[in-house]
């Protein structure tokens, strides 16, 4: 068979695989393996050393009645430092939320202050409350920032306010934003209303386990209003058009001021503050709450885990429940509220956790559903102090680490 006339139609030159002549880049920061090892060693050393050196040189002398300032509520590195400083085994930290911290009162109007007064000492009971922390967040706080609480007496406050609705319990499916989200369990158990993306969750986990990140947060929170230095230089004055008062300031200047303290005169707290008044002063009425089932509650489960963790560390834990403002609860719902409180107390007794359940305070000593006013704290401290369970617990000197 005769072959047809053929015409080659392919290109004459066939593209070959390109040689690797692609330039590296337009900089000289090209490290070889050895240089990378040196670089990483330097960075690692700095990351380990800086927080330690900082701790050694940064003045921090909390006196009696000290509490973490409101503005530093999320400075968990400082909280850890505060906890680490309670090295005298005779001192008793009180863990809890804003009820312990003292939302409406000055540092000398808190539960720890009045318990110290009852004890006739100035520093036996230590205010370790954090404003806005709830059991799910306290779990993270205790797990990662209160590791030095070992083999000592600890008082933990249980606030049943967190069980008054699925939203407060964080068990609702509706997306919610809440305080201290970086302290809650990021992956397990799943908190249905918490919708942070994967990056934020991993970043929160790293904050809690890498001291350098926690220190960076402290650095930002304590000196730069929770911002990085570059962002601080761009703080604007809120005007339109904005001006940037920090633009030409020395970025290191805020370090001179030291860790912020509570303002000498706090317009939001203390007997002279307009907020410091009975909850009924503005005509508020008792409310109906959407109580959650204790067995299904995320906050209660977290609270139990806090206790378990502390006891595993050899701490001798005493729980103070409430006192919740029962006057704030609608008459029809009070049995529910009391049943919930009793259920908690029963579980604690069953698990051999000393528990003090102070009587509800008079209505006019509450500022809201759970926070007492200054006189309320004084009365509460007296009642706790005089409780035989408390006295018995205090009398047991030895704590097995």
């Amino acid at each position: 068979m005769e072959s047809p006339t053929l015409e080659i139609t392919a290109p004459a030159a066939t593209p070959a695989a390109p040689k690797t002549t692609v330039p590296f880049g337009v900089n000289e920061i090209r490290l070889n393996a050895r240089e990378w090892i040196v670089t990483l060693a330097i960075v690692l050393t700095c990351a380990i050393a800086i927080p330690r050196v900082w701790k050694a040189i940064e003045p921090f002398h909390p006196g009696s009645d000290y509490r973490i300032p409101y503005a530093l509520s999320k400075d968990y590195w400082l909280y850890q430092r505060r906890i680490d400083q309670i090295n005298d085994p005779d001192r008793i930290p009180i863990l809890g939320d804003s009820v312990i911290w003292g939302e409406y009162v000055r540092p000398d109007g808190t539960l720890s202050h009045f318990l110290n007064r009852q004890a006739d000492r100035s520093d036996r009971f230590v205010n370790c409350g954090v404003n806005g922390v709830f059991p799910l967040a306290m779990q993270g706080l205790v797990d990662d920032y209160a590791r030095s609480l070992k083999g000592r007496k600890v008082i933990v406050h249980c606030n049943i306010l967190w069980l008054t609705s699925p939203e407060r319990d964080l068990s609702t499916d509706k997306e919610a934003s809440f305080n201290h989200s970086r302290l809650v369990p990021q992956f397990f158990p799943r908190i249905p209303c918490y919708r942070a993306d994967a990056n934020e969750r991993i970043s929160a986990v790293l904050d809690r386990h890498v001291n350098f990140y926690a220190w960076v947060n402290h650095f930002r929170d304590a000196y730069y209003q929770e911002q990085s230095i570059p962002r601080w230089t761009l703080d604007d004055d809120g005007n339109d058009p904005p001006t940037f008062p920090n633009a030409w300031k020395n970025p290191l200047a805020p370090l001179k001021a030291g860790i912020p303290q509570e303002p000498p005169v706090d317009p939001d707290r203390g007997p002279t503050s307009p907020r410091h008044k009975p909850w009924t002063a503005d005509g508020a009425e008792p409310s109906y709450f959407d109580w959650v089932d204790l067995n299904a509650s995320m906050q209660w489960r977290a609270f139990r885990q806090v206790l378990t963790r502390l006891r595993d560390r050899g701490d001798d834990v005493l729980v103070v429940i409430g006192p919740f403002n029962e006057h704030h609860v609608a008459e029809a719902q009070r049995p529910t509220s009391l049943a919930l409180r009793d259920g908690i107390a029963a579980w604690l007794a069953q698990n051999k956790v000393p528990v003090v359940v102070p009587e509800t305070l008079p209505s006019d000593l509450y500022a809201d559903a759970s926070h007492p006013l200054t006189a309320g704290y004084a009365l509460l401290a007296e009642r706790i102090w005089n409780d035989p369970v408390f006295q018995k617990w205090l009398a047991v000197a030895e704590v097995k680490p």
Partner: protein, 564 residues
């Protein structure tokens, strides 16, 4: 999943060991492809369908193109439509001189109809015709939500049926280009076109209005710009064009081709790679080299620093000026914010590119250089050979040169430059501001082309002056690129020349950082460059950058070019 986030680190901690473990097996390419698809699906799983669709279609079109003769048979169009394409006879093995693209022969015109028909093209015709009928039926009688998409697909497969009947390489190329541009047009420009056309209709007092493109999405799926669409469509299109022109071989392995289209380091924002540069790299797994890993890490670190330490920081300042009413700002602030944006977009985009190149290098692949210190350019032409090089060369090779380049006289050259820059501007986004930005660069290049080639400019004008003028002109054009509207851009330009000059509000730290980078770049391009190679300095800079990122990184938006 942005490169600088923790999930991406975890992703890489899985992908890298898996890749190195599979390097000696035939599954390595599948691993890379799976990783790339996972990476893309992280953004929006639905839009992965778009990438797969685009990839599959271009792969098929090139395969079909490969069955067509390289030279047209000379038969009349009608005859080819009636009788089908000329059969494409592969060369005997002995006649192929190397492993390049398949070489085909044109059979003699006197062959019978049976011999003339290429079975693949004939099958393609039958399948396309059948699909056209099915899709047309769905478009006419199917669920309402599927009708627009079915109609579009029916049109496409109808073109394919015609292409199969014609048996012309050009027909397949046209289908590929139409398909890719249609995707871009619909997802990126449809709303812009619809709004402008409706304004014209309103102006003409006509009642008809074009529907919102979101109404055309099937099943009410969200109408949003798929991240990276401009990049992967251009990359895929470059393959079909290069194959048509005989500059790239046909890739027979669809896994390799799919990996080329969606290789995760450069999928979102380039660099836009060419098939002839990348596909050969996917032929076999690159050998593991420690230098590749350390080079990749070095590139990645620089990119990370550019993005987290510089671009995001500058972005806050730029946003506060550009996102507010520009009437309130004095000239100093507007000028500084514009210059800050110039650096922001450079750090943002080149930072992304550095990270992309670094990641690819860790895997053993080389991506092209995309930025070459553009703000040290001594002319606007020079600027475009240093800025977004992969896009500039793409437009040069696939638009400017096919239009005739500079070979058809001065008028045609300027027309081609004008069109290339205009289209390049519009490529960036569906807004008139981008078109104006492109036109400003077109005007700048056209006006200075002659000057820049003159001996006077090259030899007598001081380099610093040339660099300064280019930087200022580029900054001027950036005003239109960044402004939220044409009206804002006009106000900013007007106020720069009319409002008072007051004390600068830009942070000293920002100025120091930018000046530091500028000095580094100047040193890099000077005779003092060896100083930068001093090992302790390099180590100190790398450690300094890592610590700065750890302490001072600023959160911000995703990469600017993701929106393009």
């Amino acid at each position: 999943m942005l490169f600088y986030t923790w999930p991406f680190l975890i992703f890489m901690l899985v992908v890298l060991p898996g890749y190195f473990a599979l390097r000696r097996t035939r599954f390595w390419i599948l691993w890379l492809l799976a990783a790339s698809y996972f990476f893309y699906a992280w953004w929006n799983p639905y839009y992965l369908l778009l990438v797969v669709y685009s990839t599959t279609l271009d792969y098929l079109l090139v395969a079909l193109m490969d069955h067509c003769p390289r030279q047209e048979s000379g038969e009349p169009l009608i005859a080819r439509l009636l009788h089908g394409p000329v059969r494409n006879v592969p060369l005997a093995a002995s006649q192929i001189n190397n492993a390049g693209p398949p070489t085909h022969l044109v059979s003699p015109p006197e062959s019978s109809n049976t011999q003339r028909r290429d079975p693949v093209l004939a099958a393609a015709f039958r399948i396309s015709a059948l699909l056209t009928a099915i899709l047309a039926a769905v478009a006419a009688f199917g669920p309402v939500t599927l009708r627009p998409a079915s109609l579009a697909l029916a049109t496409l497969v109808l073109f394919m049926a015609v292409g199969a009947r014609l048996g012309s390489r050009g027909a397949w190329l046209v289908i590929s280009i139409i398909n890719n541009l249609a995707l871009l047009l619909f997802f990126k420009y449809a709303r812009f076109v619809e709004e402008n056309l409706n304004q014209v209709l309103h102006f003409l007092h006509l009642a008809y209005r074009f529907p919102d493109p979101s109404k055309l999405m099937p099943h009410g799926w969200e109408y949003a710009l798929p991240v990276g669409i401009s990049f992967f469509t251009f990359q895929s299109m470059s393959y079909t064009i290069d194959f048509y022109l005989g500059k790239a071989p046909r890739e027979r392995n669809i896994l390799r081709f799919a990996t080329f289209v969606c290789f995760f380091p450069q999928l979102m924002a380039g660099p836009i790679e060419r098939a002839r540069q990348m596909l050969p790299q996917f032929q076999k797994a690159p050998p593991f080299r420690l230098d590749d890993v350390t080079d990749g890490m070095s590139l990645f670190l620089v990119g990370l620093f550019k993005k987290l330490a510089l671009a995001n920081y500058l972005g806050i300042y730029v946003d506060r000026v550009y996102n507010n009413n520009p009437d309130g700002f004095d000239a100093t602030t507007l000028v500084l914010a514009t210059m800050a944006f110039a650096w922001q977009i450079f750090f943002d985009f080149s930072g992304y590119t550095d990270m992309a190149r670094g990641l690819a290098r860790m895997l053993g692949f080389n991506l092209i250089l995309n930025f070459n210190n553009p703000y040290l350019a001594s002319g606007l032409g020079d600027f475009w050979s240093r800025w977004h090089i992969s896009l500039s060369t793409w437009f040069r090779d696939y638009l400017y040169i096919p239009l005739g380049g500079n070979r058809r006289g001065a008028f045609a050259t300027y027309r081609n430059l004008f069109l290339t820059f205009l289209i390049s501007g519009i490529w960036h986004g569906a807004a008139w501001t981008f078109a104006i930005w492109g036109l400003l660069h077109a005007a700048g290049v056209m006006l200075t082309r002659g000057l820049e080639r003159s001996a006077f400019y090259r030899e007598r004008v001081p380099l610093a002056l040339k660099r300064a003028w280019v930087f200022l002109y580029v900054c001027f054009a950036w005003i239109f690129f960044r402004a939220n509207s044409l009206s804002d851009a006009g106000t900013i330009v007007s106020r720069i020349f009319t409002a008072g000059w007051r004390s600068p509000q830009i942070p000293a730290l920002m100025l120091a950082l930018v000046c530091g980078i500028w000095i580094y770049q100047l040193t890099y391009e000077s005779r003092f460059r060896p100083i930068l190679r001093y090992a302790p300095l390099r180590v100190a800079m790398a450690a300094g950058m890592m610590l700065y990122i750890g302490l001072c990184s600023t959160s911000g938006q995703a990469f600017i070019y993701f929106q393009f």
